[in-house]
Amino acid sequence: MTVRPEELIFMMVDSDLGAHRGTQVQDLAELFQKARAGDVSAFREVIVQHQRQVFITALRLLGSLDVAQDATQEVFLRLHKYLHRYDSARKFSPWLYQMTVNVCRDLNRRRERHSMLSLEELRQNGESAELAGSVDLESALGRAEERHILAEALKILPQREREALVLRDIQGLPTRQVAHILGSSEATIRSQVSSARVKIKKFAERFLKEKP
C-alpha cells in the first residue's frame, strides 16, 4: 500500500476557509468590477470564494498536490487576465471549471510522475502520528487508504474519462453541464462516466485483493 505525504493533508482538521471564512460573500459582479479597476482585495475575495472548487478539481485531475497548487494559481492569474471577457449573464462556475480543465490539460502534459511513498514507510517514520490527533489512527488510515486507492485509480483513467468522472461524480455537476464544460455531447459524457466508474471499481477490487 502506498500513499504520498500530500494525501495526508486531507486527514487534517478542516481549516481550508481560513481567516476569510467569516467574510461576507459579496456579489460576484461587484467583485469583478472592483478587481478590474485594480482592487486587489476584491480579487482576493474572488479567490477565497472559488479556491476550493478549483483546487479540488485540479488535484483530482492532476493527482498531485504541488501541481494542483500551481494549477490553481495559474487558473486565478488567467482569470484575472480575462476578467473583462466574463459575461455576467452567464453562470460563472462553468466558466471557471472550463478554465481549470484547460490549465490542467496544459500542466498534465508537462509534469512528471511523482514518486510514491508507501503507507508502511509512513507508519514507520512516524509522520502518521501527527495526523492522528484525537481520531483513531487505524480508522483514519483505513479511510485514507480507501480514498488513496480511489485517487490512484483516477490516474489510470484516460484523460477524457477522468475529466468527465471528476466533474460528474466528485464535483457533482449534472451531465449536461459536464458536457458543456468539456465540449462533448451528453451521450459521450454518459459513456465516459460509465466506463470510468466500472474501471475504478475494478481497480479498487484488484488492489484490495493483492493487499496482504
Binding site: 493533508i9 481560513g18 481567516a19 486587489v40 483546487f55 497548487q69 492569474l77 487576465k81 462516466v193 466508474r197
Partner: protein
C-alpha cells in the same frame, strides 16, 4: 444483452443517469441476476468513496499559499508577463504542429507561385529573347534579371571544353515544331550587356586563359545568329545552335550541331 453490457447500464443507473424506460429495464435485470446485483452493490460502495474525494478537508495553509502567490504575482506586475500568449503556445504541440503546417503550406505555395509568375511573361516573349523583355514587368522577372541569368549561363558554358568558332542559326524546338527566328540587332546589345555584367563580376565573357577556346555567348541564348569572332581557327562547317526553351526560363537546353547533323564535341 450480456452481463458485461448490463453493468455499463448499472453504472449509470446507480447515479440516476439513465432514462425512465431504460431504468426499468436495468431494475428488472438486477432482480433476476445475482451477479449484477452484487456488482451494483460493490459499485455503489466505490462510488461513495469516490464522491468523498470532493469533500475532503484541506489544510488552510494550502489555500493561503495560493492566495499569497496569486496576489503577489499581480502586485509585482509579473502576472501580465507570465500570461503572455506565446509561452503556452510554445509548449502546446498542437499549436506547434499547426504553425509548422502553415509555414510548409506557405513555402510550398511560394515555390509553385514563383515559376508560375516567371512563366507568364517568358511565354509571351519567347521568340524575342531576353533583350525584348521590358525593363519593368509586374508579373515576372525584369529584363535585367534575365540578362543576368543569361550572363551567368554564358560563363558556365565558357568553362566547358567546347570549341566553337561561330555561332550558327538558332532554332527553337517546342512541341515538335521548329521555329526560325530572323536575326536582329538586339542580340548584339544582349552580348554587350552580358559582357558588361560579366566584367563587373570580375570575369569577362569569352575564352579565358587555361580554359576552353570558346564560349557560347548570350546572343546564342537569345536565339539569334551572331558571329562571335571567337577562335577564328576553329572548325568548319558552321555549327547550328539549337536551343530548347522550357517553361522555366532559367532552364535552357542548347545543342551545338554540325550542319551535317552530328553533335559537336
Amino acid at each position: 444483452m450480456s452481463c458485461e453490457n448490463w453493468r455499463k447500464q448499472v453504472a449509470l443507473f446507480l447515479e440516476g443517469d439513465v432514462s425512465g424506460r431504460k431504468s426499468n429495464q436495468v431494475e428488472k435485470h438486477l432482480d433476476i441476476c445475482p451477479a449484477c446485483r452484487r456488482f451494483a452493490h460493490e459499485l455503489s460502495q466505490s462510488q461513495t468513496v469516490l464522491k468523498s474525494l470532493g469533500h475532503e478537508a484541506i489544510d488552510g495553509k494550502v489555500f493561503q499559499a495560493i492566495q499569497d502567490r496569486v496576489i503577489g504575482e499581480l502586485a509585482s506586475g509579473k502576472a501580465a508577463a507570465s500570461q503572455r500568449w506565446w509561452p503556452s503556445i510554445a509548449w502546446n504541440w498542437g499549436w506547434t504542429g499547426v504553425v509548422t503546417l502553415g509555414l510548409l503550406l506557405l513555402l510550398g505555395g511560394l515555390a509553385f507561385w514563383r515559376p508560375f509568375r516567371e512563366t507568364q511573361p517568358v511565354s509571351n516573349n519567347r521568340l524575342a529573347g531576353p533583350a525584348a523583355l521590358p525593363e519593368k514587368n509586374s508579373n515576372g522577372p525584369t529584363a535585367t534579371e534575365v540578362r543576368n541569368r543569361a550572363a551567368a549561363s554564358s560563363r558556365e558554358f565558357a568553362r566547358a571544353p567546347t570549341v566553337i568558332e561561330k555561332a550558327g542559326t538558332v532554332q527553337k524546338h517546342r512541341l515538335g515544331k521548329t521555329l526560325r527566328k530572323p536575326p536582329d540587332r538586339s542580340a548584339e546589345s544582349t552580348v554587350s550587356t552580358a559582357e558588361k555584367l560579366s566584367s563587373e563580376n570580375g570575369r569577362p565573357v569569352g575564352p579565358q586563359p587555361g580554359e576552353g577556346k570558346a564560349s557560347l555567348e548570350v546572343a546564342q541564348v537569345g536565339s539569334q545568329e551572331v558571329k562571335t569572332g571567337i577562335n577564328p581557327e576553329a572548325a568548319v562547317p558552321e555549327p547550328l545552335v539549337i536551343k530548347l526553351v522550357t517553361d522555366d526560363p532559367g532552364i535552357v537546353i542548347v545543342w551545338l550541331v554540325d550542319q551535317n547533323g552530328g553533335l559537336r564535341k
